[in-house]
Structures are given as structure tokens and as C-alpha cells.
């Protein structure tokens, strides 16, 4: 997401020119989302899963429930862990390897959205106090990158969790039965990016490549803010931030509908 090279500068010029006419390269209006499609429970080895398309951005979210020891300060609570992986098939410039800055940011923003909303009932995940609890892994697996991964993954994570079933235990032993995970809230992230003086939603990879700043805001069902995350190399004024929050807020409900189904 550097703006340093010549190609980028040309791209930036072109994109900015088109934006100045009130349109975007792909013909969308500033506030338009590409089509968001989410299919749930398509993997049989995961406790929950969701496949997400947002335009050409394509993500698989898998939920696995394992067991482990609780944290010392919360001996009777299970744990939620979110990881993101940028697979090398998703983008010609991505190389295989350990998580980089961008995949860490993606995982952290989605993770904070889920935790802030206290989405899981972590107490129901306790098997034996202080000894054994259930760990819910949410793996965000990027299969094709064309921008706006946070919004795609955030919606996919909710979809996958809502469809997930966890094994149950009785006196520390597995019962062999599964029950749905309790999902208490449905936080949905929406990102707004700024290019020049323009604010747009659901950026493509090209648009992200030339953005000045991004603000991601996660909303719960009451349209309260659960998390915010600003990134990018430029600052934003207070008015701009408020504008971003409003733009994002407008879109969260419709993405939530896509995530949780009808």
C-alpha cells in the first residue's frame, strides 16, 4: 500500500480524476458496495464456516473449536482466537510466509470487533475450572484480494460463528453431542477510505493502493460503535472522522443482513 512508485502515481492520478467527476473507475457511486455474497457451513471438517465474495475479493472463514488451558486471570472462561492468512494465491505480490503487518492488522481489527462486542458467552466454554476450556479459533483465509478485506472478513466471521456448533462436555468428558455456539451480538465493520477530498466505501485493491487514509468502524445491532481503527499515511480532521462514522453506520445494517441470513 505504498504510493512511492511511478505506476502508483499514474494510477492515483487516474483514480482521482475519475473521482472528481463523482464516479469511480468501476462506475460505482461513492457509497456503493460491490455485491456481498456469503454462504455458510460449506466445510464439513470445521465447526462453522463461511465463504465470502465481495466483488472479486474472496475469503474463506473457518471456525474450529478445540480445547486448552484457560488464562490465569479468567479460569472459568473459554477463549476466542482470530487469525488471518494472506495466501499466495490471492495476490501476485504476496509471498508465502509468517503473518506480516497487514495480515496482523486484519486479524486484530476483526478480533477486536468480536471481543469488544463480547460476542461469545465465554463461560459456556468452560469445561473444568482452571484446567480445561474450549478455544474457538476463527481463521480468516484470503483466497483472492481485491480490496476491503476487513469488511469482507468481519461479515464472514459473524456468519461462520452463527452457524457454528461446539462439542459439549459433561464432568470434563465429551458427550459426543454438539450445540450451537451462543453468539450474543452481531458486530459488522465498515471501512471508509479517503482519496484526496473524496470519501468512498468498499474500496477495490487499486483504490486502497492510492488511499490517503482509512477509517474502519464496527457497529453492533443497536448501531453503537464497538471498534474504530484508522490507518493510512494521512491524518483526518474531526469533521472528516464524523463523516466517516456516519457513512459507515449507514451500511452496517445491510451487511449484517447478508451475514446472518434472513
Amino acid at each position: 500500500m505504498s504510493k512511492s512508485n511511478i505506476v502508483s502515481h499514474l494510477k492515483q492520478k487516474k483514480i482521482t480524476e475519475v473521482l472528481s467527476t463523482g464516479k469511480r473507475m468501476d462506475g460505482r457511486a461513492f457509497e456503493d458496495f460491490r455485491e456481498l455474497t456469503i454462504k455458510r457451513n460449506i466445510l464439513f471438517k470445521s465447526e462453522g464456516s463461511a465463504e465470502v465474495w465481495l466483488g472479486k475479493t474472496h475469503v474463506m472463514v473457518g471456525v474450529k473449536v478445540g480445547t486448552g488451558t484457560p488464562f490465569e486471570d479468567t479460569p472459568d472462561e473459554g477463549v476466542l482466537m482470530t487469525n488471518a492468512e494472506f495466501t499466495p494465491i490471492a495476490n501476485a505480490a504476496w509471498e508465502p510466509g509468517p503473518p506480516n503487518e497487514n495480515s496482523i492488522e486484519l486479524a486484530r481489527v476483526v478480533d477486536r470487533g468480536l471481543r469488544s462486542a463480547e460476542i461469545l458467552d465465554t463461560h459456556e466454554l468452560c469445561i473444568t475450572v482452571g484446567k480445561l476450556v474450549q478455544i474457538v479459533f476463527v481463521d480468516l483465509y484470503v483466497l483472492n484480494y481485491d480490496g476491503n478485506l476487513i469488511d469482507a472478513c468481519g461479515a464472514g466471521a459473524i456468519a461462520a460463528l452463527m452457524g457454528a456448533k461446539r462439542p459439549t462436555f459433561s464432568e470434563g468428558k465429551p458427550t459426543g453431542e454438539k450445540v450451537p455456539l451462543t453468539v450474543r451480538k452481531k458486530p459488522i465493520p465498515v471501512s471508509v477510505i479517503k482519496i484526496g477530498d473524496n470519501f468512498i466505501l468498499d474500496p477495490t485493491a487499486d483504490e486502497e493502493d492510492v488511499m490517503d487514509a482509512r477509517l474502519t468502524v464496527t457497529f453492533d445491532e443497536e448501531n453503537h460503535v464497538c471498534t474504530m481503527q484508522k490507518s493510512g499515511s494521512e491524518g483526518l480532521t474531526v469533521d472528516e472522522i464524523k463523516k466517516c462514522i456516519n457513512m459507515a453506520q449507514g451500511k452496517a445494517p445491510q451487511n449484517r443482513v447478508k451475514a446472518i441470513g434472513d
Binding site: 466445510l43 471438517k45 465474495w53 474450529k64 499466495p88 483465509y141 483472492n144
Partner: protein, 278 residues
Amino acid sequence: MSKKPTTKKTAARKPTARTKKPKVDSWKRADGRAFDELRTLKIESGVLPNADGSAYIEMGRNKILAGVFGPREMHPKHNAKPNEAVLRCRYHMAPFSVDPRRSPAPSRRDQEISMVMRSALEPAVFLERYPRASIDVYIEVLEADGGTRCASINAAAVALVDAGIPMKDLVAACAVGKIEDKLIVDLGDYEDKKGQSDMPVAYMPKLGKVTLLQMDGDLSTEEAGKALELAIEGCKKVYEVQREALKKKYGIDQPQDKPQELPPAEPESEEEPQREES
């Protein structure tokens, strides 16, 4: 990977594949297949917009994506070869592809499969046409159900053609196993684990060469020979599905002019009864 409902891509093929000459032996497997019957097989090419070539395969419940990038400049440069391209393979499993969840860090097994995949595919590629270049084949296993290395090779071969890489032949792969002293093809996960032997094989049908051969278990040399032949029969069935997937995308006769070396249909491939996944 399920189909994105609203997009119309080049259509998938969900066929396959009892043998055309039904054997006398009517012994059936746990899932009702005959000994020489493949699992449901579906291959689709051109599924990844950002890759130079790609393919998606479902072989039984395996769900695997292959992406090909290249020929492109080798990075780092000192790994380049002056007289030919270097084929690099990376086999990787999603954390949620198996039970229990696995760490995303590559395991020793991943590295071994990456290596045998490269050996299996290399003989089919005209590497000498792209000196100093790299051709990168990335495999992502989304769901594993036994036989992922064969399924990965099948997807990778199609993705290489889809990338326009000139090929001497396709590579088709299929495993043979022994259960209750019987040889059977294309073992599923449930068969894999209780089998007496497992022998994954990759084959170039036009050139008649085996490019992957591994075996674990207990076979007499006679059985090993029979198993190999049975595996090759399986590979030929896979090959038909691969060609079909490429035809769907590139037209009926030949898939564009770039991968000129795609082999013509083998004569024995006329009939293919369909079988739906249970």
C-alpha cells in the same frame, strides 16, 4: 469452495467414473463404490482472478485450490537457473482443513509433499523455454479428505495449462490402496486410515510416464505391479475430467494456442457414467 451463486463462470464438471468394462468382482466398499471407481470428481479452471492460472478441485470431499504465477522473474535472483525456468511448488493446508485444527506454520509433511509435487509436475513442463524465470505453483487445501497430494497434482496440472505454460503433457494422479487384501482406487479418508497399503501415483497419459510414485504398507512385488496398473487406469479417468475442464474453458478442440502441447483425447475415453456425491 462452493460456487458463488450469482456469477456465471465457465461451468464445472461434476462427473465420474465407474470403469467402462464392469468387472466380475461385485465386492463393494463402505461408500458403495466398486474397487476401481473414483470418488466424485469435479475440476474447474480459471477460478482465481489474480493468478496467472488456477484450478479448483473437489475429489471426494477434498476441496483444493491451485494458483499458478509465472513465468516471472525469479526472486531472489540467485535461485534462478541460466538455462531453464525453476518450478516451485508449495503445498499448504488451511488451519480448518483438518480435525483438530492445525497450526498455519508449514510442517515437515507439507515440505515433503511440496517436493514430490514438484517432481511430479516438472517432467511435463517445457522449463527450457523460460531461462532465469520462476513458475510458482501454490496449493491451498481448504478441506482434506484423504489423497490430498493426488488431488493437488490434478489441480496444479490444470492450473499450469490455464496459465498458458507450454506443457508436454498433462499430469493426472490417483492413489491405490489395499484393504482386506483387495486393491482399490482413490481411497477416502475413512479408507486411508485403516488401509494396509497406500500408493499415490501420478502419470503423464500421452507420454506414458509415471512422475509420482510413493507407497507405504505391505505389497508383494506382484501386487505392487498390479496396483501400479490399477492406479494408472485411475489416472486416465482423472485425465478425462481434466481435459473436460479445459475444454469447457477454451473451446472444444484445443485450449488456445499457447499450451500447444495439450494431448489429444485418448481413444478409450468415450463413455463416463455420472455419479452424484452422496
